[in-house]
Symmetry: C2
Subunit: 369 residues, 2 copies
């Protein structure tokens, strides 16, 4: 066998297969399209009509590279958030920003703390940097703030990840709890506060933004309530130097011109956002009601999905999921122990939730057989 270019030791040690299976792959495997796409916490309500119109009109301009400074979008975000433009960096969704933030702060062997069963893409980026992931179990289906703090101190963690509102459970902490957590953190530990679902939760869960604090990066996205998951646009807000450091390694032409244009238009249409948020709240109520009608326990949610306790173990919940998928209903579920007793249903269109309501009883019966 001839020799070949080696991978770096860190990359060589990574698994060759990755767990990112999209609904498209499942459709290709089954040969039929899903009837309801309510598994990826997308916004079935779509982007604002004004955003659609703006994107359509911008299509012809896509021969131009993006503005590498993302200036117009950053300026609009800064004005919207009441911070300076130097406190904002735009990235290719929160995924892209997590990638960069981890590379900035995690050297091989560094400890990184997260919750057991929290966002797998964050863990994927930590592994790629050679970081040492330390996980803390959820407590009562919420991320365990004291547990995370204890692990941070014990391990001298460089980074701690917290999502609020949380994915995959949908639960949340109020702003004063988050503030207490931030104030108790060592100054040398960077908190990545993932607020992807910030728009759909109660305002009381969003602490005020303190851009003087160098160890908090808050990340938000146009992928959820704004309905632009397919365009890759998110942003991080933080202290000026913590944000400026992104310039050292970010892909400067990486946020597409279309993403910048779409994000700017989406931010400008706050009335559409409010409509969607109301629809999301109604959809959550409906999913919870369907769950209860079937003897299951919906977990209170501040996100655009509802996680449902199926009342048994992970094997049972997996069967429920598989039976829903076999019936054309795309959903997902948490996979980590304890959380894995649940399935996770995104707020879809009313018709999609009707399909879910129609198919859940059969899926449960089949899972029980």
């Amino acid at each position: 066998m001839p020799s070949r270019p080696p991978l770096t030791p860190i990359v060589e040690a990574l698994p060759a297969t990755v767990p990112f299976v999209g609904p498209e792959a499942q459709q290709r495997a089954s040969g039929k399209p899903f009837r309801a796409r309510i598994g990826a916490n997308e916004s079935s309500f779509g982007p604002s009509p004004r955003v659609i119109e703006t994107m359509a009109a911008a299509a012809r301009d896509m021969w131009m590279y993006c503005d590498p400074d993302n200036y117009e979008l950053k300026a609009a975000l800064a004005a919207h958030l009441g911070v300076d433009i130097g406190n904002v960096v735009v990235g290719q969704g929160i995924d892209g920003l997590l990638n960069i933030a981890v590379r900035m702060h995690v050297a091989p062997g560094d400890a990184v703390v997260t919750s057991l069963g929290a966002y797998p893409t964050f863990n994927f980026h930590v592994a790629a940097s050679g970081g040492r992931l330390v996980t803390v179990p959820y407590a009562d289906d919420r991320e365990n703030l004291d547990g995370l703090l204890g692990a941070v101190r014990r391990e001298d963690a460089r980074v701690v990840y917290l999502s609020n509102p949380d994915n995959p459970m949908g639960t949340w902490w109020e702003a004063d709890e988050i503030t207490r957590f931030v104030e108790a953190l060592p100054e040398t530990t960077m908190l990545i506060l993932d607020e992807a679902y910030g728009e759909t939760g109660p305002a009381s869960a969003m602490p005020s933004i303190d851009t003087a604090r160098p160890n908090v990066l808050r990340m938000r996205t146009f992928s959820k309530a704004y309905g632009l998951a397919g365009i890759r646009c998110g942003y991080a807000v933080g202290e000026a130097k913590a944000i400026a450091d992104f310039e050292k390694i970010r892909d400067h032409y990486g946020v597409s011109r279309m993403a910048q244009i779409a994000g700017l238009a989406a931010l400008a249409d706050q009335s559409y956002l409010h409509e969607v948020v109301a629809k999301v709240a109604a959809g959550r109520d409906r999913i919870a009601s369907v769950a209860r009608d079937n003897g299951l326990s919906p977990i209170p949610s501040a996100t655009n999905f509802v996680t449902i306790d199926c009342g048994s173990d992970g094997a049972f919940a997996l069967k429920v999921l598989q039976n829903l998928i076999a019936r054309g209903i795309f959903i997902r579920k948490p996979m980590a122990p304890v959380l894995d007793r649940c399935i996770r249903i995104s707020v879809g269109l009313p018709d999609e939730l009707t399909l879910f309501a129609e198919e859940l009883p059969g899926a449960l019966a089949a899972a029980r057989r």
Copy 2:
């Protein structure tokens, strides 16, 4: 001063300011728009009308995440190139693919070989991985194949970067020379062959694709001849394991749904591509003729730009550039010694080249004053 989360030693050592200044930043600084945008090797002819139509129609679907497998686009590319789907990976433009490939193959301290004055974004990614960049001067305005080979062997380089056709000079090597270079490489050195300008060059410069060879990654893009720089879509072609290794660290949801849709539509419209390539060739001739009319020496080009030897030193060429920019003509220039005696003009629309022809004499006169 309170302490703060440290950057990794590699990132800490990187410069805080980066040289990616877009035309938008220059327009914001001057307060007026450019009259001709012929500096970034974009395709002023734009994407195909069918691609524009397809993107416009797809705008409403942007609430859905992309297919993380990029399946349809990869399948179409594989069929187009006559390779297996496992020989193709799609990324966020060549920039995004370079980022990943460098992370895969360059550990801190590893030697990486490139030409002095070649693509700065590649160097930026090498620095972010802690690689040790070894540069080889151009010879007669072409990348020096023997020089690169010598440096690879001397330094035991993990990666060597070569663009063909070349940016920023526009020159190229014929396929047999590239093949000779590939065959002479150590098996443990990965060649990144950047073929961003592959479509605008002579077919004779494109070697056949040998997917059995584990140490070549060919990278191509929809940003240049296809007119989609603003959408971020490129691809790499190589041996199956070399391609599969990208899965270990690539951002799986990173290539936007819009980019995949646009790339697929662009690939399907080869007749538009051929039209653009003919217009590019005509535009090159016109730029060369304008250069000669002004007593300057155009360098033969296989790309969508022409690099013009201004006949003096770097300081003079910089003045010519500044004077063109002051006249509303956005262009760029090589900055590395010897190459820096040149300015670089992208093939724009006929009207833009007319403006260039009108303004060049004045810019030259001002530079000579």
